[in-house]
Amino acid sequence: MTAGASTMADTGGALISPEKYEEKAFGFWIYLMSDAVIFALLFATYVVMLGNTAGGPTGKELFSLERAAGETALLLASSATFGFAAVAMARNERSRVVLWLLVTLGLGAGFLFLEFGEFAGMIAQGAGPQRSGFLSAFFTLVGTHGLHVSIGSLCIVVMIGQVLFKGLTAPVASRLARLGLFWHFLDIIWVAIFSVVYLPGVL
């Protein structure tokens, strides 16, 4: 991922050697593994608490596969568009990078909009996280993912700013590469959420 960064001629004023970017990328991979453990435990808790509905609504009554499919489509597409941004970065095409990042941001916002609507709808029907252990686990698992997507979106905004004002220098390219890792990671987590939460939930 950082190969592009290390060959970048423009260091943007940074003094560190190219190997440093590799260290950063490696450290970020380790962070993602640690974060994956957080999600693993949230998944485990969710599965354990599936039956703890306390007489409240179950997944079958609450989840809509159409909405979940829409969310999935938006997030998967955003991963592809981030990939296009990475390709444009490798080709040093600054305006294309910004364009694809904007598209990614739009898709991410669409995902968050759908998820927010789902949460609001459930809370409105009295199926909020306070209703049962099952719903606490559901909102926490899916909400933690949503929080990650929100933070990722904020980072995309920051990176659009950096690309516009600093150009595709080595440090900017290296940050963008790590943000890409984060974004794809969230995609993988979402695929797991879809397969563990929504699909068995409605079947």
Binding site: E23, K24, G27, D35, T45, N52, A54, G133, S136
Partner: protein
């Protein structure tokens, strides 16, 4: 909704004389530190050379300062508990139950999270990069953030003494008692946010140390040439990265239960409190090894240096460390055998727990065999090591007893358990860190600690330890539960009085540590470490000057095997002046790490007291600080070769004046390695 959340004037501790005096001591302590800094006119130094520093050595020293302060606070808690139990036979003693409960909760929380964790992070920061021939850790700025987040957590525990109360739910915070239904106040929230905020710091430290070891080793420093301390750090870092998320998840869910009325661990509406205990110990057991492995590393370094011979069984020690690291994730259920899992599940975890004693035993034999036919020098760190070896074996054997589920059913939550884990953690962890503190102090400050007071501290600690904890084994067998505020069984009292006397002797041990530090600072001119190698060391941290230059090594040393520095001395290439110096890139100081820590502290405080606007403002401030930092491409500066040469010339001038060997007068000293060329 009030702008101060649930914070009112009644939160100040004027309801009890003891609580008020605790608060007064905390406030006076903070004021006197500020006073001393002002008196010496040292604010500029403190702020610009230390608080904003992202040099791993200074960060290490600051971590250890936090640890020593918190050690005193944690010990005061212990002394109050021991004195209460010594007198509370058939009467109430001097501590009301609510207060006693806060004290045992804060004692455990402080000793684990804010004494042991900062102490180990400090030693690692100070030494590990030097041992692998590196100029810094991989992420110096993140290192500073970790330090200040840990400090923020410690600050929250201290502030709970002044504003509001601390948790009464023990250091493990088991629900449903720790839930909002049974413990509605702010105490558990203080505990949760202190643990969560410092836990983020620890996770980042783990990532930082691991990447440093994997990516930043000097030329020739292959993995199997690394000193054993670095190996233990490697495994500890892996454990931090994979275990701390469990603590974050468990505590995060308890926060959600308490503040947003969710039902993860409540009695009703589908809560499952056993899941908390499961998640907590999924972190908690690896945490034991996170604490103890670096101490094992210290013992390995100390025992080789003061036996004046190569560490016995290097490979087996490395493999044992890795085995412990893996097995540490397979034993957590032994903390709750009494939950009532099936006999098969309990047996599995019982067997795994006894198996983990095997690699630990391998280590003990390796250390013993290192001493065998060595020429031992009984400096204070070596005394701590020998004290550890003897005492730790007793604790280990009582652990193997507790690993048997039927025995555990009898011993669960008795003082036998308390005796067991203190028997592991005081000699295993604390003695290791104290040995490391005395061993590496000259490296950090350029002068040695007073030996006599160090030896005294050791004898007080070890005698005090036996007196304080052996009676607890007996009490456990007599059926005394842990956390008793008062009791009506006459047979318990004599043992508790002996235990209190033990605590008093440990207190003298702490006094000795303080006197040692004061005397050593007073007499520093006589005890200067001019060579940077005060003990005739074996690994690369002794190749740098004491204290080391900002870049550690002007020229990165070439490593050829285990005991790299010893090998360099043998080859006659130690202290060799290089032909020329080059420019060195060094990160600039920054206040952003301290700002994030300080804001993290205010954020935790706001979350404890439900001051939502303030919490949101703090999060926004942290986000802005991070964005500013991440947009700064000029966070380093170049130290020109001429300046490096100046620093190194001063070092060589000092070396010329220094005795050839600082250990030469030591009885039993076997001599320095002789360069091969001259033999």
């Amino acid at each position: 909704m009030d702008i101060f959340g649930r914070l009112t004037i009644e939160s100040l501790p004027f309801y009890s004389a003891i609580a008020a005096s605790g608060a007064a001591i905390t406030v006076l302590g903070a004021l006197s530190v500020a006073g001393v800094i002002t008196y010496f006119g040292a604010w500029r130094l403190v702020l610009f050379d230390w608080v904003s520093s992202i040099d791993h050595k200074k960060i290490g020293i600051m971590y250890i300062m936090v640890a020593l302060v918190m050690l005193m606070r944690g010990f005061i808690d212990a002394a109050m508990m021991r004195s209460q139990q010594a007198i509370a036979y058939n009467n109430e003693g001097y501590l009301p139950p609510g207060h006693f409960d806060q004290i045992f909760s804060s004692h455990g929380t402080i000793m684990i999270f804010f004494m042991a964790m900062p102490f180990l992070s400090g030693l690692i920061n100070l030494i590990m990069p030097q041992q692998i021939g590196s100029r810094d850790v991989a992420f110096p700025f993140m290192n500073s953030v970790s330090l200040w987040l840990t400090t923020a957590g410690a600050g929250l525990v201290l502030v709970s003494l002044v504003i509001g109360k601390f948790s009464t739910a023990g250091w493990t915070g088991y629900p449903p008692y720790s839930g909002a239904e049974f413990t509605p106040g702010v105490g558990v929230d203080y505990w949760l946010w202190a643990v969560l905020i410092s836990g983020v710091g620890s996770t980042m430290s783990g990532i930082n140390f691991l990447v440093t070891i994997i990516k930043c080793r000097g030329p020739g420093m292959t993995l199997f040439r690394m000193p054993l301390f670095t190996w233990t750090v490697f495994v500890t870092s892996v454990l931090m990265i994979f275990a701390f998320p469990a603590l974050t998840v468990a505590c995060g869910m308890l926060v959600l239960d308490r503040t947003l009325d969710m039902h993860f661990f409540t009695n009703e509406l589908g809560g499952n409190m056993m899941n908390y205990i499961n998640l907590f110990w999924l972190w908690g057991h690896p945490e034991v090894y996170i604490l103890i492995l670096p101490a094992f590393g210290v013992f390995s370094e100390v025992v080789a240096v003061f036996s004046q011979k190569r560490l016995f069984g290097y490979i087996s020690l490395v493999l044992a460390t890795m085995a412990i690291g893996i097995l540490s994730f397979t034993v957590w259920l032994h903390h709750f055998f009494t939950m009532g899992s099936s006999a098969n599940v309990n047996s599995f975890f019982g067997i795994m727990t006894t198996i983990i004693a095997v690699p630990t035993g391998v280590k003990v034999f390796d250390w013993l065999l290192t001493m065998f036919r060595g020429r031992l020098i009984f400096k204070a760190p070596m005394l701590y090591t020998i004290g550890f070896l003897v005492t730790f074996c007793i604790g280990g054997l009582s652990g193997v007893l507790l690993a048997l589920p039927p025995v555990d059913y009898l011993m669960h939550n008795t003082t036998f358990l308390i005796a067991h884990f203190h028997n592991m953690i005081i000699p295993g962890v604390l003695f290791g860190y104290l040995a490391g503190y005395m061993f590496w102090f000259p490296k950090a400050f350029g002068f040695k600690l007073n030996e006599k007071w160090g030896v005294w501290s050791f004898w007080c600690w070890i005698i005090g330890f036996y007196l304080a904890f052996m009676p607890l084994y007996v009490l456990g067998l007599l059926g005394m539960p842990r956390r008793m505020e008062h009791y009506e069984i006459a047979a318990w009292q004599p043992h508790l009085i002996v235990a209190a006397i033990g605590a008093l002797i440990i207190f003298f041990g702490i006094v000795c540590l303080g006197v040692q530090l004061a005397v050593s600072i007073r007499d520093r001119k006589q005890n200067l470490d001019l060579t940077g190698d005060p003990w005739n060391g074996r690994s690369l941290e002794w190749a740098t000057s004491s204290p080391p230059a900002p870049y550690n090594f002007a020229v990165l040393p070439q490593v050829r095997g285990v005991d790299a520095w010893w090998d360099m001395k043998q080859r006659g290439v130690a202290y060799q002046r290089p032909d020329r110096y080059v420019d060195i890139v060094i990160p600039k100081n920054t206040f952003i790490g301290a700002f994030i820590g300080g804001t993290g502290f205010v954020f935790g405080f706001a979350m404890v007291w439900w001051i939502w606007w303030l919490a949101i403002a703090c999060l926004a401030a942290i986000a802005i600080a991070l964005i500013i930092r991440s947009s700064d491409d000029e966070s380093d500066f170049v130290m020109p070769a001429s300046q490096v040469k100046e620093i190194e010339d001063a070092r060589f001038a000092q070396l010329a004046k220094a005795p050839k060997n600082e250990m030469a007068d030591e009885p039993g000293f076997a001599g320095q390695p002789v360069p091969e060329a001259s033999t």
